[in-house]
Symmetry: C2
Subunit: 394 residues, 2 copies
Amino acid sequence: MTDVHLARGYRFAAVHCGVRPDRDRRDLALVVSDMPAAAAGVFTQNRVCAAPVIICRERLPASGARGFIVCAGNANACTGEQGLIDARRMAELAAAAVGCRPEQMLVASTGIIGRPLPMDAIAAGIPQAAAALSPAVNGLDDVAHAICTTDTRIKVASRLLEVDGGEVRITGFAKGAAMIGPNMATMLAFVLTDAVVEPAELHRTLKEAADQSFNCISVEGHTSTNDTALLLANGASGQPAEPHKFAASVSEVCTDLARAIAADAEGADHLITLEVEGLPSDEDARRVAKAIADSPLVKTAIYGADPNWGRIVSAAGFAGVPFAEQDVSLWLGDLPLYRDGAPLPFDAATASAYLKQNREVTMRLRFAGGPGRCTFWTCDLTPEYIRLNADYTT
Amino acid sequence: MTDVHLARGYRFAAVHCGVRPDRDRRDLALVVSDMPAAAAGVFTQNRVCAAPVIICRERLPASGARGFIVCAGNANACTGEQGLIDARRMAELAAAAVGCRPEQMLVASTGIIGRPLPMDAIAAGIPQAAAALSPAVNGLDDVAHAICTTDTRIKVASRLLEVDGGEVRITGFAKGAAMIGPNMATMLAFVLTDAVVEPAELHRTLKEAADQSFNCISVEGHTSTNDTALLLANGASGQPAEPHKFAASVSEVCTDLARAIAADAEGADHLITLEVEGLPSDEDARRVAKAIADSPLVKTAIYGADPNWGRIVSAAGFAGVPFAEQDVSLWLGDLPLYRDGAPLPFDAATASAYLKQNREVTMRLRFAGGPGRCTFWTCDLTPEYIRLNADYTT
């Protein structure tokens, strides 16, 4: 964490308040901007969405945000009207503790679905968190830990961007993608910058970055009720950033976080990068990549170091994207397996060794249908995933 | 097999010819109608489809079909131009062996993707099969075994339908759904009747039956390159059947086979029946059911006997079908877990015991959006599924 480029003008704190039983794990995180910040968010497309997602959607994009409060261990999803009351109350209490208006505070949750929030514990924890706020990197480290559920490590990424008058910094942190734990939900990602950015541009920047990062990862394809990515820009650097460079840097931070989420998915042995190109649109390429990424047959083959290219090509075929079979070519790493719709002779032992010896592997699928392309990240499917998600009783 | 209602005028044979290495397993099946039969087919929607699927699509519906030849162990998919030549040759050889024109013979395959058919072995096997053709139930039994790949048991279903002038019989057999084996593909189903039916009506009947049966099952959601369902009507009974009664009986046979496929999916511990109702259309209900059925999180929860209803409701939410959360209710067996968008108190031990003690379990999801409904069958996801699909090297 010593090499992180920490956006200026933010303070961080995380405490254990009792949302989850393990007293050694922080479960309530507070992030506050010293000054009102532009803020944007993108959220789950699930029809069943958690109360904090509804609250954030109402409030964003905004120009006067002061921060966000996150609880881990309870998703506050499928909790009906009470869930909305509780999510608003969380924001109110955090706002009161840091001295801003309730609507300046955003809120997120991750954890068990369908249980009411333990509001007494949260109400007691918020002032403790507010009292502990720190601008130091240790505070960020605490927050990055607090939001984790079954993640095995924190995910933090940052960029320093040189601008005419100096520099701006972009700092992101996230927790594991997909509904990754026993009864747990959610991908959460937060990106902070000290650049000066208007809310509308901030929203556009986040939307584009998320489309190429968080929307291009999959663990098992089960869209959570709570997915949330927030981007705050407090202008503490006093510097506006050149929009294209800024967007590229935000996108890099989001991509680093997305890759880290796929690599740290439950039980994962392999990080799989899918490069799909040559379809009519980027969205077509994304649909093909997602069909491959979500196929348990592809995922178990990679786990078993089996270069079973028929599963990959056939998964592309049911993505709902039109293409001609004779336009498909496939590489596993640098090894061509299938070209223009016909199998190539290849050394199965070499292909299997590639999968056995590398923790990160790449598949490239080329079509002949246009300029659309996508890079997508996923993981393999292992017995450990099943153990984690089955050996549990609600 | 003694209680099967065997459609008259059909003969059956299966031999081992060498498509698969195990000499104790038959791998080539031939079914012949004594007289020209009306024939219809429905096939995989995968853009990457096997050569025999292309051949059958060209030939159906038809009025003069004489039978079909099936090889198991090789899918003849992703095999380029050579695959088409080989599939046509298979049909030609079978036609010659039984004395009909090549285009009267249909063809299907299941097995490894991307390898050329062993045509010498198949060419040697076809006359042997033709010589062994038998109208007895033992012949059907041999054929039902021959088409299996990793199925642990054969799937046969039949109905006897009383008609004015006597009776007609409907006999179906199938092999495992989804891409269920190490590098294996395919659901195959064949339904034979001795009723008198025109090809156009036969096609309509099969299409409707398949939509409510084979299109309502999922093992892991990976659509095969080879899925094929054929329906032959040779009129050997001399009786036309009342169309609605006939359609209902064909649908029952297909549903029996579809359920059997889901119940015998690789590694499956549970047959899960999903009842979805109250959406604008049946297709909406099917999409919701399929999203739930394909979710590894739902499937691992059932395997672990965890009544984790949040996973079920949230899977419905990302099916792409609009609904309001407060319109959703959920039952596990007879136990209500969620009503009108709010969780109900329930005894988790009772719910878990229901999943532990029953090999067949039911979930019912009710919406308030219309008359659309669907019954869908799937299975749980177990470590055995991963073992079967990972412990293999191409």
